[in-house]
């Protein structure tokens, strides 16, 4: 294929938005690891949804006299220092963690990608102003911001998303902008411009799909850090409150007693790890499946 033909091919392929996603799905289906990842995530979501019906105990049910006991037939994953069933608490925790992980990351993703693409594509003053705004938000003292949020609005799970979203989209925007800057000078974008496509169409059809690779990778990295950030914010008092639980909180409690009651750290840690591995395989699969260029091999 000679250069101009390749460019036109790319434009055509990107124009037909549906075929890109259909193509991707076909390729994703061939990737067993990615399918496995997808399966695990779906399973976790189903368990999280059904938790109130299938959990063996109540998440707040205490048995102080029992205290922390290692896994047994009665409590498969052991109990915490209040004698609460760990399996139940991890199941209930998944509701919070998955929701925070996906929603907050989703918010960060949308804002970050749009912001970065627009800044990178517009260039000049618009770019400068937009990116300096990012710098300002980076620099503000996060903890004071949290305290103020709490005081002004009270405890609210929505605030948690807001607080997390407010910090997580910044790096995303920077990465996307960098990517767009390097794409902007490539032939197919210039061709699209000379063909007279509108800016919005170029952004939507050409730029965003081509930044998806790094964006997906960064997203799979953001989900775990968002889940852990939730634990930190909950600890500060912004997020969920005891007796509710989340994976991040369970892990942070587990750290304190890792020598005495290792199962309190091990099981929530394992759950989070499995989720991340699954997300990771899925993310890699998606990245490969969406990669227009590698498909031509």
């Amino acid at each position: 294929m000679s250069e101009p033909v390749a460019v036109i091919y790319k434009i055509e392929q990107a124009e037909k938005g549906t075929s890109l996603w259909q193509d991707a799905w076909i390729r994703l289906r061939k990737n067993t690891m990615a399918l496995f990842g997808l399966g695990v995530i779906l399973l976790l979501c189903i368990i999280a949804l059904l938790t109130p019906f299938i959990a063996p105990y109540g998440y707040e049910e205490q048995n102080l006299l029992l205290g922390a006991v290692p896994p047994s037939t009665e409590h498969w994953l052991g109990t915490d220092i209040f004698g609460r069933d760990m399996l139940t608490r991890i199941m209930y925790g998944s509701r919070v963690s998955l929701m925070v992980g996906f929603i907050a990351t989703g918010v960060a993703l949308i804002i970050g990608v749009l912001w970065g693409t627009i800044a990178g594509f517009a260039g000049g003053r618009v770019d400068a102003v937009m990116m300096r705004l990012v710098d300002i938000l980076y620099a503000l003292p996060f903890m004071i911001f949290i305290v103020l949020l709490m005081v002004v609005f009270g405890r609210n799970i929505l605030l948690l998303f807001l607080a997390i979203g407010a910090v997580e989209w910044l790096t995303m925007a920077r990465i996307v902008r960098g990517q767009v800057l390097s794409l902007r000078r490539q032939e197919f974008i210039e061709a699209a411009i000379s063909l007279g496509l509108s800016r919005w169409t170029i952004i939507r059809r050409h730029l965003i799909p081509n930044t998806l690779g790094p964006v997906i990778v960064y997203t799979t990295l953001t989900i775990p850090s968002v889940m852990l950030l939730e634990a930190f914010l909950s600890f500060l008092g912004l997020g969920i409150q005891p007796p509710q639980s989340s994976w991040g909180l369970l892990i942070s409690y587990g750290v304190e007693t890792m020598e005495e009651y290792p199962w309190l750290l091990l099981f929530p840690g394992l759950t989070l790890s499995i989720t991340l591995f699954a997300l990771n395989f899925l993310g890699d699969g998606l990245r490969d499946a969406l990669d227009v260029r590698s498909s031509k091999d």
């Binding site: 220092i81 500060l236 005495e260």
Partner: protein, 553 residues
């Protein structure tokens, strides 16, 4: 061109990498602080949060208290075993028959670390300084038993000669009090009553200037058994033996390293790897482990403080005494101390810790869920029906969270009431409590001195530390008018017991447990005598090098 650039980059990376390896590894000597310290007579002391200042008239915390008792000395000290007053700068003293006049004879060999003699004038000047409003001394109230000192501190009189401190001669100091204050001698070794070296302070600034450089190493002049050698924020404060101290022969240590360690897990691990002789605390879940495997390294003893919940009596549903009593009677505090706090704390049924200098209040409530339910039903909430959702506030901390989680469940289980937990960062929490912007809030109170007064005078109407909105005229009369005027100890305690009974009957607060001090002590550290004030007389401590090798791990 390309190669040159690349070589440059490679070189840079190689250099950085080599630097990294050299910096990170170094050669290993392997001797820990305890071994070195035992050989050189240096004590390594875990000291909690980072000290703010070393000016005795500015500081407010316990870590500062520990360092200052090593650096300075008041008129009298305490016997750490009995907490009875023992001579310090004052060799002898007399108390007048009405208990209102104290005359101190200062020892002639007491000198500052620079050789200047410590005189009665130094004390009078120091106390004058401690009362200066511009200095912002938060503990100025420790001096208030002295006649007219409160009026002077508040600017009501501006003639210090009216304050009851008289220098008779260089070595005699006479102090007049407003009332016979039986615990006055105890106050004398609180840091706000420590002497400071006038010439040094005036050299570095005005007497009432906050944070002049006089407290820095090299500038600091003290009269205690140790002098300041090094002060690095967040790292350590090092003090070394003061050869000019009047009792220097009895001081066995050559120096103390105070390590500011905020993270208890880190502190325990430092102890376990032989970096500390003594820790400020111990992680809750480690207590059982030490009790079982290394009981001789664990030191626990009662501490003069009460862990309790404040109730906002201004709220409609909590203004009912029966509701408050129901809440109190459905807390199984024994289970909390045994299963949650686990450090040998004693469940509290009174506010003043039992046997505070011979005073024990009558216990006024007990764990009784049946009775609690009845009371709640009487108040109009049978089985917790219609009981408003109530918030339990605590400041952000693992320990408070655990207790709150347990109590939330108890209230829910025994009373059927719905409680939500709310934690706030320390400063926000203080603001909420001060402004009455809470329903039920966690609190703690550590006595300033050993006398029921330090626990009871806070609950008078509009007392700065009350915060519950509760008051009772008879209570105020007993605490503010009758008790201070009563000279006889038993009579006075009777009045206080009557007051405490009123407090516990009305229950604007729910006592949960009496604090316990918990720390880890290396076996080579000798001479530590535990007491309810956690008071340490550093000159009594010594280190035994033969025990350096005790297995810690």
């Amino acid at each position: 061109m390309y190669n040159k650039k690349k070589r440059g980059k490679t070189l840079l990376f190689t250099a950085l990498f080599t630097l990294l390896i050299i910096e990170l590894t170094g050669c290993s000597s392997g001797e820990n602080n305890v071994t070195t310290g035992n050989r050189e007579g240096i004590l390594h002391w875990g000291n909690g949060t980072d000290p703010q200042e070393l000016d005795p008239h500015i500081v407010t915390g316990i870590p500062e208290h520990h360092i200052l008792t090593a650096l300075l000395e008041g008129l009298v000290a305490k016997n750490p075993a009995t907490l009875e007053p023992i001579p310090a700068v004052a060799k002898t003293w007399q108390i007048s028959d009405d208990g209102k006049t104290y005359t101190f004879q200062l020892r002639r060999n007491a000198v500052w670390s620079n050789g200047d003699p410590v005189t009665a004038r130094d004390f009078a000047w120091s106390w004058w300084r401690a009362l200066q409003p511009a200095l912002g001394n938060q503990y100025a109230y420790m001096l208030f038993p002295i006649k007219n000192s409160e009026a002077y501190a508040k600017g009501e009189i501006d003639d210090f000669s009216q304050v009851g401190v008289k220098v008779i001669d260089n070595h005699t100091l006479k102090v007049e009090l407003t009332h016979a204050t039986p615990y006055f001698l105890q106050l004398l070794d609180h840091y706000s009553m420590f002497p400071v070296h006038r010439a040094t302070i005036e050299k570095f600034g005005k007497p009432d200037e906050r944070g002049s450089l006089w407290t820095r190493p090299g500038n600091f002049v003290g009269n205690g058994p140790f002098t300041l050698k090094e002060w690095q924020l967040f790292k350590r404060v090092t003090v070394i033996k003061n050869p000019n101290y009047w009792d220097a022969d009895k001081v066995k240590l050559n120096g103390i390293n105070f390590h500011p360690i905020e993270n208890v897990t880190t502190e325990e691990r430092m102890f376990r790897s032989g970096q500390l002789h003594h820790t400020a605390s111990i992680p809750i879940d480690k207590v059982a482990v030490y009790k079982k495997d290394k009981p001789h390294q664990l030191l626990t003893h009662p501490y003069l403080g009460n862990y309790f919940y404040r109730i906002n009596t201004k709220l409609p549903h909590l203004s009912d005494k029966r509701v408050r009593r129901a809440l109190a009677m459905s807390i199984n505090s024994q289970q909390i101390t045994e299963q949650v706090t686990k450090g040998g704390e004693v469940p509290a049924h009174t506010f003043t810790p039992p046997d505070t200098l011979g005073y024990t209040a009558k216990s006024a409530f007990e764990f009784n869920p049946e009775k609690a339910r009845e009371l709640l039903a009487e108040a109009g909430y049978p089985n917790g029906k219609n009981f408003p959702v109530t918030e339990l506030l605590y400041n952000t901390s693992e320990g408070h969270r655990k207790i709150a989680v347990a109590i939330q469940q108890m209230w829910n289980q025994y009373l059927g009431v719905n409680i939500i937990l709310n934690n706030q960062d320390w400063k926000v929490y203080l603001d909420s409590v001060t402004n009455g912007d809470y329903s039920i809030a966690r609190a703690g109170w550590i006595g300033d001195y050993v006398d029921p007064n330090t626990f009871l005078d806070m609950w008078v109407k509009d007392g700065g530390n009350n915060g519950t909105g509760w008051s009772n005229p008879r209570y105020d009369e007993l605490i503010l008018k009758l008790a201070p005027k009563t000279k006889d100890r038993n009579e006075r305690y009777k009045l206080m017991a009557e007051a405490e009974a009123i407090l516990l009957e009305d229950m604007p607060i729910i006592p949960i447990y009496i604090y316990n001090s918990k720390s880890l002590v290396h076996p080579s550290l000798k001479g530590l005598q535990p007491n309810i004030l956690n008071y340490v007389l550093y000159k009594n401590l010594s280190l035994d090098p033969s025990l350096s090798g005790v297995k810690l791990n």
